[in-house]
Assembly symmetry: D2
Homo-oligomer: 442 residues x 4
Amino acid sequence: MGIKVVIIGGGSSYTPELIEGFIKRYESLPVSEIILCDIESGTAKLAIITRLAERMIHRSGLPIRVSSTLNRRHALEGADFVSTQIRVGGLEARALDERIPLKHGFIGQETNGAGGIFKAFRTIPVLLELSKEMHELCPDAWLINFTNPAGIVTEALLKHGPHQNVIGVCNIPFNMRNSTAEVLHVDVKRVSIEFIGLNHFVFGRRVFVDGSDRTQEVMQRLMTKQLDFSPANIVSLGWSDAFLQAVNMLPNPYHQYYFQTTETLKKDLAAYNTNGTRAEIVQEVERTLFEAYQDEQLDEKPAELELRGGAYYSDAACSLMDSIYNNRGDVQTVNTLNRGAISDLPVDAVIEVNAVITKEGPLPITVGPLPLSVKGLIMQMKQMEELTIQAALSGSTKDAYLAFLMNPLIQDEKRAQPLLEEMLLAHAAWLPQFQSKEAQRT
Amino acid sequence: MGIKVVIIGGGSSYTPELIEGFIKRYESLPVSEIILCDIESGTAKLAIITRLAERMIHRSGLPIRVSSTLNRRHALEGADFVSTQIRVGGLEARALDERIPLKHGFIGQETNGAGGIFKAFRTIPVLLELSKEMHELCPDAWLINFTNPAGIVTEALLKHGPHQNVIGVCNIPFNMRNSTAEVLHVDVKRVSIEFIGLNHFVFGRRVFVDGSDRTQEVMQRLMTKQLDFSPANIVSLGWSDAFLQAVNMLPNPYHQYYFQTTETLKKDLAAYNTNGTRAEIVQEVERTLFEAYQDEQLDEKPAELELRGGAYYSDAACSLMDSIYNNRGDVQTVNTLNRGAISDLPVDAVIEVNAVITKEGPLPITVGPLPLSVKGLIMQMKQMEELTIQAALSGSTKDAYLAFLMNPLIQDEKRAQPLLEEMLLAHAAWLPQFQSKEAQRT
Amino acid sequence: MGIKVVIIGGGSSYTPELIEGFIKRYESLPVSEIILCDIESGTAKLAIITRLAERMIHRSGLPIRVSSTLNRRHALEGADFVSTQIRVGGLEARALDERIPLKHGFIGQETNGAGGIFKAFRTIPVLLELSKEMHELCPDAWLINFTNPAGIVTEALLKHGPHQNVIGVCNIPFNMRNSTAEVLHVDVKRVSIEFIGLNHFVFGRRVFVDGSDRTQEVMQRLMTKQLDFSPANIVSLGWSDAFLQAVNMLPNPYHQYYFQTTETLKKDLAAYNTNGTRAEIVQEVERTLFEAYQDEQLDEKPAELELRGGAYYSDAACSLMDSIYNNRGDVQTVNTLNRGAISDLPVDAVIEVNAVITKEGPLPITVGPLPLSVKGLIMQMKQMEELTIQAALSGSTKDAYLAFLMNPLIQDEKRAQPLLEEMLLAHAAWLPQFQSKEAQRT
Amino acid sequence: MGIKVVIIGGGSSYTPELIEGFIKRYESLPVSEIILCDIESGTAKLAIITRLAERMIHRSGLPIRVSSTLNRRHALEGADFVSTQIRVGGLEARALDERIPLKHGFIGQETNGAGGIFKAFRTIPVLLELSKEMHELCPDAWLINFTNPAGIVTEALLKHGPHQNVIGVCNIPFNMRNSTAEVLHVDVKRVSIEFIGLNHFVFGRRVFVDGSDRTQEVMQRLMTKQLDFSPANIVSLGWSDAFLQAVNMLPNPYHQYYFQTTETLKKDLAAYNTNGTRAEIVQEVERTLFEAYQDEQLDEKPAELELRGGAYYSDAACSLMDSIYNNRGDVQTVNTLNRGAISDLPVDAVIEVNAVITKEGPLPITVGPLPLSVKGLIMQMKQMEELTIQAALSGSTKDAYLAFLMNPLIQDEKRAQPLLEEMLLAHAAWLPQFQSKEAQRT
């Protein structure tokens, strides 16, 4: 009796990476069944991915059954792991998340600012449904949530969903650890970074190699630009020495939205006027990818997938499943309940933190009080996340307005309102919770 | 044996208002001695104010002795109340606080943003000296601190000074209550407003007339612009209905810097290009005032003083002294130690809050948790205040940089640095604590 | 249109005191209607009390209507104030609360230890019913709860009842202030005591006369036994100098159960063997009182009532109603939501604290962190209260056992169990919530 | 260059166990030098132990140098690990800690109650001296503190000592895990127990075998008395089913002092009257042991040592050193700074908790809020610990009285005072801090 894995959003272009991950780790993580699950509008893509997955597994010679379905309830029954990589509204919705804020003079980004808030609004109700189904159909299964904004979505699931075996995963800490290992010329297994904060607002407080503190050396590499954590999809502007010396922690690439706002906005507007939004670029990449995926000769993950931006997602997910399945007790960076690990944040908040991974899930390692240098902003971000979740559930435009107002990328009491109205209108099809409250807005 | 009052910064143009206050309240607050104390460079102004005060008291026929001195230690001995209205570096320093940020594209304001932080840097060490002297020379006296940024300065005094009888006062809550009473056509004594938050970041959560909740009515008046809390020195841009409805609390005039940043910056830049900074306007007003003050016929507070912007400061200060002296047990809004009144903020933070005023000082009325709508931003502001105090004491440019970085009006990791450097240089004469650390900056 | 007051448990022997209170305060608190409400088994007493109340009011010549009813819903409609002085199970139940623990070698007291826990078990469900009715029938009325254990009952009502206008009142702080005024030979109005802690576990941290600190003088009077706070129903054993000097706060009479446990238990056992329980003494007093009440000549509160032990209850209740009705803003000691006033305790805990009394209810004055000297025990007591409320609602014997185990007067893992079993059996008639769970106990 | 270990209190009868531990683990923990350090009055014992250690190492054939000294400063220079197993005042002082409380009718136990408080008073100043020396002479070394009361002593060192590389160790969690493994017939490496609470007041919340929850099975074994955690030195009375079911966690043997107080006191008094105190029994055991140790033929740890009561201490210490030295990242139960791991306790409290052991020390695994069932009592115990540390530093008899008053095993305001006085007198020679304050007591 092997492991049953369900991939929600199985038609995603990322799926081949996950399949590859399961094949590579088969010895320690013996997956016997993979079900790719998607929604009706994704039928064509799902078929392509399923075929590719079949070829990859066939090539591996492993006894893994792969199948696809549009029937989520059927797929979930008896699952051991469920991973989510959905995008409610597809890349069209993402394009709106990016384009509308830019038009109003705000940063347009799919996981931060107005765009991230709306992605949360669209995603949370859908995943809360999944939470209910899992609670009923596979109560012991672990939900590995990749869907962005991963921190907010995971907090919504843990606070409001019945299914509590949920872990949020982001590839950013994974990438930062890999890049650090590379620049220090050591095996990544010997590197550990103390991560503290929130998803897409996480800092690396200290870097250790074999348990010895190498933080200052890594800070130096950041100052001399020998090290840069920006992924493919974020153009880096670099950090000033003043910032790195004063904060004395590793920033993550998304911090540039908050600490280099004016410059980033300018750059994004320029890029938008030249190449359109990131969503539109990705749409192009996806077209190419799916073309490649249809090649009946292709039976491994194609190199082009790297361009897609989500490198290491599969590694992050598979090692998490592996450690849970084998009760490894190793340390990984996840989005999980705070419970006091960061003593300044609410116990029921979700944080991004190093955790010991056991069969019973992640046990966060205590961080203590936040460093004075960034405590205030992290607390504001958490507050904004809480307001976002509240609005996603209430469908109240007042709550949505407050989430906008408390977001450091918006925070303009007058300009927030037309931005909000335009986004509510543009995304109306994916936001039933806000429609039923039509009245309130008039 | 009457009450002895010492006015630190006695040569200020505001002093006549305080003198008037003492005269008006003589029956319940029998002041027998007023000492106006100032520094050498203020000798000329001090003489003018002392003469005017003498004439005012003479006219009143009351047995109040007034005198002036440059010897602060001598003045403090045996004092009952000490009020501070100093401006380290004078209006020239204020002009720098306003002008340099504008030049760098940031809001230039003397109590918020970079300017407010530097005012704190200049003021805190001077008032900590006063705290030590009071602890020695008049240990039971109450220090009524008007000096801005009043919240930050009061927190520095209570956390780091030996003298603990310190209360910070701001005229903003006083003004808001008066304006509210006016628009509701009721006597101000019947109005109470539940104030919550921080100095210059305070909200009025609920408005009561004779104990009955009239908040929604007042919110309506704000929406219809029948009510505006902006004082003479802040041009109001008005609030959007969306903001007022969602926050559902009374904003204070300084909130526009944080919630209307772009627009306010634009307006301030335009004003600056036309009329110069507010400091320069005030310098002009001061010239006129001191001319008027020298008129030997003048024996009352001149009407022009209203233009100066600090209306009701004297009322706020005198009613506080009166309630302490008479152990009144009435409720006033002050800056005092939190101690749990706002359960989200540190117990040793200074907050702006309603308090029962007794002979033993203010007893803050419990607020409870902050409303979700503004909690995050208030917590960030408090954090920024803590960093400001830390930098004011350490003289570390790293700490100063962090205070800038965490200020929502700056928060740009690259642009913060040249702004900080220019301000440190411009204010060097008033910032000895930063000079002794010259090395650290190179 | 005057004030309508409903007295739940109107047939209580205390009621004449309340009636007298309303008569005395008529000018500022114009009560126009009093409804005495009781349950069927109290019909006879209710009739006697109602007749006496009518005579008292008739004598006063005031236009107050008094009536009685067994129909609580009818009584509540349109009420302004509701006071509760019920005793579920009557003095018979109280006798069990006192007798059974003594038999098992534990202190038997109706508001502390096992007895207090069972009084809470019997009372909470009944008053939660009242809360629902008030929420429906008189949503703006204030519930003034006298019913012991007043702190626990009030917390249960505020945490689990729909009606939030609830204030708990105890005469202990009232008595302590009166006794202090007496020993200092000053009018009680000039005295204020800073009370901190929990009902029946409250300390007086500081004593002020006209705002000046007189704490040490009062501590001296306690040491020399010139002052003793014990009411008629608690025989005082006095406090050691070591205790008074180290704690340096005014203990309340109930503290002897916790700090003089062995001695008190011995004394109570001796008294029990001689005179029976306090309940039995009170039954005797009650018989005498009701005899006196039936005297058709009697038209004022009889002096014998003082012996009953609840002196000043009426004063405490009437001044609270008066301050609410008139929005007085004076300070009274009440049981109300913590909200941060004591920063060590949960924000939703009920504490006994000084509060500003307004038309909108009590605004607790911030206490800050608890003194290190007693913090731990206060936190344990609060925890025990929480467990008691949990058990009262769940009807789980495991929860009840935990409440016993965490009570410093029991805290014996083996002896707690037979005590609990005997009390559950003895009180079964008044504890329906525990009956429906019969199964769990086997 | 191997590892240098210093054993403070090297003349202790426990030392051979540590020596054996180093020999057994040499491969992964290559100790090259062991210095046994003691005070002058321990010279004779130190010589015996050093000789035995030499023989043991000689037999092992390992290149470990062992030596002894009375010069602590000399010993510490360049140390990697320092372990402390001192007993200030020796077994004579322990006898007083046990005998005096019994005489006054209180439990006499060397780590709990009055005895434990006095052991802390004697130990803390001595170990704070050590902390200063380590900070100067071996700043990177780890102090592994065994000295009881280990939690209180470790908190004192971390709060008030300059040297922060301190870990407190107790063999109780170690024993509980071993006994659990035994009764479940599984290898101890497969067992993990979630420990929460304070030293000698720790609970095992959940038991896992290979990551699967087996808690209920272990609770059953406790109920059927197949499992008992009591060590040799504590006679077990067993736990009631009611207690085990309601608390639903594994109690530790010391809990019987708090939850079976009456019975334990009776038992201890009986034992005392028959065999004297535990100290006296141990004195006898020690005599036998040291006799055995002198046998020049003996070159291994003698079996009699097991009787001494501290089984597994050496295992606990050696595996801690091993994991630090090798940066193992495994989970061990230690006494370390809370930092939020238990969200109800102060961040700077020391707790007993599972921690990931790295080269940089223990990283506590987050526990979250304490279970409602025992939260209150744990908070009171922590409070009592804080008062004990405060008194140990201040030498104030008022503080010492408060520590007694807040200890659940004393808590009697009158009887605490003569007990305290007698103990202060009896231990005067080892309590210089209390002597210099002679005045305060009169």
